[in-house]
Symmetry: C2
Subunit: 487 residues, 2 copies
């Protein structure tokens, strides 16, 4: 037999167990013809010595290969490469085919998605304390219940149909539960026909923007505002008009002036806890904005991503609940209510909009995540989500109070902020400190925060969002202490 160990390099640092590296290596040799059918392998001890590994490890590799059908044990004779190999032997379609490296780059040019790329938020790799943006605390979310519901889909015969193709609008079951929930909590008198389930709020925005806009359409956003939304609107063709935000929300006078000058197609707002400044749009501005929308017939995208988390017990009803004419496209999500990895969001709009959005969603991905939809519907039905929201409000309110107290005690001469009525963040204006340097230093000391780049690109507020919701009291104290050291 050929010295197969020379063909099977073992990487002891790899995440793949050694026995599996060997098993896969032997499969590779069988496939490539280096080990022919029917070949008798040397004894396990000899092989183990050849590979310089423990005999048990080698035995695991052999067991794996026998289980997969690559090897056969003939009793009292030994171990052989199987004559009837288990899987497909793909045909090479060219005789002068040689093992080539996969190409480094495409031969053709690929559209660039723009220099202003979306911020990376792969928090899975981050071992720091994280106060970047507002994150839900994954430790308090009812994930056990969610996973239990998920698993029970497989066990309930009536639910197995959900393994098949489904409706790109989202399963009826979830849309019905959700329309009741939205009616109860947000005063939206809607039916399941007014809802499309999306993969998080971002897909709601992507679909709405691309359905509403063609290149050159005039769109209004707030400044400072939610950068990712602005980018999504721009990529859908929008010409962006920025209007200021003050302590009472977006400047509706400025919007009216724009409407007089040009045809505004769409206004994007976060009336409840504006991103990034956390202010709430006042009732009279809301009424005026709705009236303007009716008069100038523009679409209002109301992004209400953290409605559930309001700490004064009196959130303002969404503008969508007062929409008489069909101006408002209302976007929400469960990624903040549960955990970010649960990509269930929704759009509420008049039926004609939802129908086209459904067609569009179908062209993007056929359908959403039915299994997650069903599990979430069950959690709505049995009250788990409502109960979790109650619990989370209490916890996050305490954390907000604690965090704001700490900042006021220790950093009131360095950071300016208002206590937010809801949400998961404060909008912190740094008086003199260089935010980028602070964030850089903090990261080295074990604290990840947003360096403000996304918020201060149009105008420099020297401000950033600091999230409090995902850290407990002890962790918040640690985080603030690091902040104090770094400013």
């Amino acid at each position: 037999m050929i010295p197969i160990h020379t063909l099977i390099p073992i990487d002891k640092a790899s995440a793949t167990p050694i026995y599996l590296q060997i098993a896969n290596g032997i499969i590779h040799c069988i496939r490539s013809g280096h080990l022919r059918k029917g070949l008798k392998l040397p004894g396990a001890r000899i092989l183990a010595d050849t590979f310089k590994i423990h005999r048990n490890t080698l035995q695991m590799a052999l067991d794996e290969l026998v289980a997969q059908g690559w090897l056969e044990i003939v009793s009292r004779k030994g171990t052989f490469v199987a004559n009837d190999l288990p899987v497909m032997r793909p045909i090479k379609f060219s005789s002068n085919e040689t093992l080539a490296h996969y190409p480094e780059k495409t031969i053709f040019a690929v559209k660039k998605m723009g220099v202003e790329s979306y911020a990376q938020t792969n928090f899975q790799q981050d071992r720091n304390l994280i106060i970047t943006e507002g994150l839900p605390d994954i430790r308090i979310a009812p994930m056990q219940q969610l996973m239990r519901e998920m698993r029970s889909i497989e066990k309930r015969s009536g639910f197995k149909k959900y393994f098949n193709y489904g409706n790109p609008q989202g399963t009826l079951y979830l849309r019905e539960e959700l329309s009741s929930f939205l009616s109860d909590t947000r005063g939206l008198s809607i039916s399941s026909e007014n809802i499309i389930i999306t993969n998080g709020a971002q897909m709601g925005l992507y679909i709405s923007a691309n359905l509403l806009l063609k290149a050159g359409d005039e769109v209004v956003v707030a400044e400072p505002g939610y950068h990712t939304a602005t980018l999504t609107l721009e990529r859908a063709g929008a010409v962006i008009n920025r209007v200021p935000v003050d302590d009472y929300g977006i400047d509706v006078n400025a919007i009216e002036m724009l409407c007089r000058k040009k045809k505004i197609r769409l206004v994007y707002i976060i009336p409840h806890h504006h991103h990034p400044t956390t202010v709430t749009l006042t009732p009279d501005r809301r009424m005026r904005l709705l009236n303007l929308a009716a008069q100038y017939k523009f679409a209002l995208i109301e992004d209400d991503y953290d409605y559930d988390f309001h700490y004064s017990s009196s959130p303002m009803l969404p503008m969508a609940s007062l929409d008489r004419h069909g101006n408002v496209i209302y976007i929400g999500t469960l990624s903040k209510t549960l955990v970010p990895a649960v990509r269930i969001g929704f759009v509420v709009a008049p039926k004609n909009f939802i129908e086209e959005a459904t067609q569009f969603r179908r062209s993007i991905e056929f359908q959403g995540d039915t299994l997650m939809e069903i599990a979430i519907a069950e959690l709505y039905k049995n009250g788990t989500i409502a109960n979790h929201i109650k619990k989370a409000i209490k916890i996050y309110k305490d954390r907000r109070d604690h965090f704001c107290g700490l900042l006021q005690d220790k950093l009131s001469d360095k950071i300016n902020f208002k206590i937010p009525e809801g949400g998961m963040c404060i909008w912190a204006k740094f008086m003199d400190a260089d935010l980028k340097k602070v964030a850089e230093k903090a990261s080295k000391k074990g604290l990840t925060m947003n360096n403000g780049e996304t918020y201060n690109r149009i105008k420099n507020y020297n401000a950033t969002r600091l999230g409090f919701s995902s850290l407990n009291v002890k962790e918040l104290e640690k985080a603030v202490n690091i902040l104090v050291e770094c400013i």
Copy 2:
């Protein structure tokens, strides 16, 4: 107290249990102010009589309301509307607000997604036998193992990080497992950097098409071809050029002629089991097409949605495995390998393409379904997927043989077809029968089949795809018997 039963209509036909209807109705009355804080409720017997329901049912409603905090029991005094109400009382932001109907339509025009809409495939509602398209048999898929892995994410402390925000390219863990699997089964010598995970093959196509095309770009597809892909390419701006397919696959001469006449940006092909005709592109045509791609620098989208299911034990390696220059964008999916509701697909391409695709995916939905990705990665690692494929090949091959045998016995004078080497369907040309009428009749008798509309719109082949993979032998016999009755 007001006669609350008049405000709470009970619908005995509803899926919502009656006690929950009453509980929700009472919550509504409390919220709306019809039942004020501190109000004492009548005794349970009186209330039960008022609602004309059994006292136990009423007690369940009361228990629910107490548990949720809407009612309080004061011992020896009675049941009261709680003074400290449990959830948020949203503020109405207008005083002259009246309960309005939600608008029927938007006030602004919404882009129409086109008359040629995607076919509806909501098979969840269908109680017929289904031979529409090729569907995997959800009964044989390893869903129990998948759901177990899913649930274990919540139980393994090292995996909880996956509840947080993740990478829009897909989790590294799955991309690494998948690149090994693709290398083993398809001869693709790639790394995790050459893979983006998508929501099914459709999202791979959507992203690729929109990344590659601008309005007016010339694109080549096969005729007959996969209608949904053509539509996706058109919506991304493509001008469609159709070239014929014969028994050896797409006509490469015709593609070369087009290349000489105009700048071709992209060619879309399904070389393995062409949709709809199931033919496999021959090796020499593959080589010629790859050479053409290199010469004319066009992108080749290789859609390989059912590579795994080949019954002659010798599938052809994908064209991507021989790509030397970076021409091929390779698309695959697990929706056929497992079940349609598992929306995990992938694109394999040179790194520069994957990077832009990742940015694009982020703008659509931030990230994919991390939890499903991790569960699938585990199934790759522990061999479940490889084993399932082996099992499914055996089962589907038997079904193909049985189905084709039945058709030859009973319908050889009505239907023309070739036995496909792989996949889940046959391409059935009906000699005289009116396909639409056949499908209509069949549906009434309990058999759902495609009436051919999507396949015969450019040219009338009077043909449709009949799927055999999701029905067992008995069901196939039933299906063919219904077909016989309907032709």
